[in-house]
Symmetry: C2
Subunit: 484 residues, 2 copies
């Protein structure tokens, strides 16, 4: 069965990789259109299966189709191909110079694992699937067991677009099954890359499987992080209450079930009492909200129970009694010295739990920066003048994250050209890449150079005439000009 | 000792990554200048240690300093940083849009292993070292035991440039030692990437070590390949003798000790006899030339001995008697059916040995293309009209290589913007990257996004004013314009 899947996928690849960019863009836009047309069925199903509110799911569908359209426009534009041309020179001495032209080509069949926490935007027709399809790779999508019906319905939408676009049916294959099925997909020799969003344990297991294949393949696993927020005195002096409120609302958004959930905040000793009070005030009336499924709620309360055994913690708000599905927000404080003493305090808790770490001095923050694990995001809440005094700290923190924020909160990831959603290990398995935004397409491509290839055989992206009118690098300079 | 090395390297990194691009470019140019000034000492030493002819080593030093200057110019230009800006919009509904700016930053200390076959261009001051330094990473260079004196002398040149440029001395560290030292370098937690050029066994061992660290890191191992040449009837009809000569001279260049050495050639049955005759004629008077060191010569003759046990082969030219240091060229023919029956015929022989594979039909070539391992290069010698008939074959072969040639020979790799020197596994461990040409710098960088960062704190590459005057992607469009 797995062999049949890859046979279909590989056969589709050899055709799909060569279809014109405009056909591929039309296909992606058709997916968006069909998803939009099925909104009335998709949304209630995803709400039912994820326990997420209808407003959020409606928004998430918009985000999903927005992503599809972004990738469609990139495919049409063609600049993502990194077309690069070093024209030949038959008169060069001592040897003639060959004509070399390079561009990105798709890698082959991609295995995608969806996320539980985004049943649409990071699932069946989510960023991983769509960026792989945009790159020219067929996708084998392993449905997430937390939302099987939603996954199947969205898969039907994609397959309808495949049929209407007259593409080979192996372009997108939806697979259901457990862990063994996922492992078999990653281990299959025809798989050329893997994308995953989920837990560290899950992502690392897939990475290990892929690295130990006869032919190792890249695994793009986005495994989340605790997304620390660093606060500084001047800023707190002026905006303490709104910052505390903003922090609590980012922490508890969506029951804390975001990869960018800020589960760690560093507060200067001088502001310990007032910041605690403001946080306590902001969080006190927040009821638990439903988590994605009972397993996730159970894991959340298990983590809380573990932290309750740690005497280093002082509770600002304790979680309510364990509930089958509702996750009750909780926050505890700890001294920076204690936090530094045990890596266990860096573990991600999936849900609305945070550690507030009280620091004594800028030196202590430098120690924190050195010890901090790799993160998707780090947020700095400081006035410009005081941040300038912390240049050495910021310099170190750059080494620990994929996105550094100076305002606002890490939740709510913009989809655009400049977004970086990825970061040093263990937040992801490949910090060179992003899983959100236009850069995500590059994960599923590799360069090939054509040397002295006749014009008639060259791909359009590299022809002298530049028929696609794309930006290319010619002799090192970016240009849309033809080659003479 | 290894800890001290990485302590120095990590300390240097935190400074070196932030020095202005112009200082970094000056530093690289100084390296080129000092190497050039030491040419009279470097060349004879490298000749003595590698057995390569003086003309070749003189040329290789020119290539080495040429590479240094290319990377210096890229660092000055700054476009490699992929500066990307999505300006914010405080009026966007329903939520204001954050300002997001992304660029590449260096990854940290890089461990580089030099190649035996290029004592200069792929060694101490070779492409890996220089592209890592250009990216802003300090380098820990493990000297190759085949040319210890050359390595030490070149390291002194680099260190002289470090001192004259007033950079921290951990920017470049030269390490001598055996396999255990190399392994310890790769396993050290402070190492962030590894570059290697050499054998499959060596590269794969480093890949496995790196993938199984607590924090896995990328390994860019260029492990060579057999670089097949496919010949087609019309082309042979017109140019048989010059093609055979050109093939033999590429095969035997530098005693066949190139990663792009064409160790495999596919010839249509109808041309078997005349092509064999032309090859035999071109190769018959070629004496063995000295190989890099006795161990390499020994391994070469062991491979030849193995092939002599295989009855499927018919010898066009046998190797001369085993010699302590000279590698005598050899070539044998085999039917495509036999070649297809055993993967052993795809093994690289490091030296001037080739298999000429005789094919019966285009269908048989399709089978070859399906079975072929990943290669650095594939060369197609056909007329345009006949190549057009083989579109399906070319389509498959694209999946098997990093560079596809339509003229000339794979040896002699141009250093430029469009070069791709890398390819699908097992030719390298990371087909998404190149180890020759400007693209090599990207191996040692990763993206970071700054969100709502004040202008005064932003790196120059991302400031509104564009003080570096670099090409940036703003709202998805390439431009050198300022942001208003």
């Amino acid at each position: 069965m797995i062999d049949d899947i890859f046979a279909a996928s590989s056969a589709a690849f050899i055709q799909y990789k060569n279809i014109p960019a405009s056909t591929k863009a039309d296909f992606l836009e058709k997916i968006a259109e069909i998803l939009e047309a099925n909104r009335p069925t998709i949304v209630p199903l995803a709400v039912e299966e994820s326990n997420l509110p209808e407003g959020r799911i409606n928004g998430e569908l918009g985000r999903t189709t927005g992503q599809v359209k972004l990738f469609a426009s990139m495919v049409r534009d063609g600049s993502w191909l990194e077309a690069t041309i070093d024209p030949g020179d038959s008169h060069r001495e001592p040897l003639p110079k060959a004509d070399i032209r390079r561009m990105l080509i798709p890698v082959g069949p991609v295995v995608v694992f969806g996320a539980s926490n985004f049943p649409l935007a990071f699932s069946t027709a989510g960023g991983d699937t769509i960026s792989a399809l945009a790159a020219g790779c067929p996708v084998i999508y392993k449905g997430h067991p937390a939302h099987p019906k939603t996954s199947k319905l969205v898969a039907e939408c994609i397959n309808q677009a495949v049929v209407e676009s007259k593409l080979p049916d192996g372009v997108f294959i939806h697979v259901e099954g457990g862990i063994e099925v996922g492992q078999a997909l990653v281990k299959h020799p025809a798989a050329k890359a893997v994308a995953f969003t989920g837990s560290f344990a899950g992502g690392k297991a897939l990475y290990d499987l892929a690295a130990n294949r006869d032919e190792p393949i890249p695994v793009y696993a986005e495994m989340g992080s605790v997304n620390p927020v660093f606060t500084f005195p001047e800023k707190l002096e002026n905006e303490l209450v709104p910052l505390a409120q903003s922090y609590v609302s980012s922490l508890t958004l969506g029951a804390g079930q975001f990869c960018t959930n800020p589960g760690l905040i560093f507060v200067p000793k001088a502001f310990e009492i007032p910041f605690e009070a403001a946080v306590a005030d902001a969080i006190k009336d927040l009821a638990g909200s439903p988590m994605l499924h009972p397993g996730i709620a159970k894991a959340y309360y298990e983590s809380i129970s573990y932290y309750q055994t740690r005497n280093e913690l002082k509770w600002i708000k304790v979680a309510g009694p364990q509930h089958e599905i509702h996750g009750s927000p909780a926050i505890a404080s700890i001294s920076a010295a204690d936090w530094l003493s045990d890596d266990a305090f860096q573990q991600e808790v999936f849900g609305a739990f945070a550690l507030m770490v009280v620091y004594d001095s800028p030196n202590e923050l430098m120690e924190v920066a050195k010890k901090l694990h790799g993160q998707l995001t780090i947020t700095l809440w400081g006035d410009i003048a005081e941040l300038k005094l912390h240049a050495a700290l910021i310099n170190l923190l750059e080494e620990k994250c994929g996105r550094l924020l100076f305002h606002g909160v890490p939740t709510g990831v913009e989809v655009g050209y400049a977004m970086q959603h990825g970061g040093p290990y263990p937040s992801t398995t490949d910090s060179r890449t992003t899983s959100v935004g236009s850069g995500a397409i590059k994960r599923f491509a590799r360069p090939i150079a054509f040397q002295d290839m006749p014009q008639e055989l060259l791909p359009d992206a590299l022809k002298n005439e530049n028929p696609l009118k794309i930006v290319r690098q010619v002799n090192g300079k970016f240009t849309v000009e033809k080659i003479k």
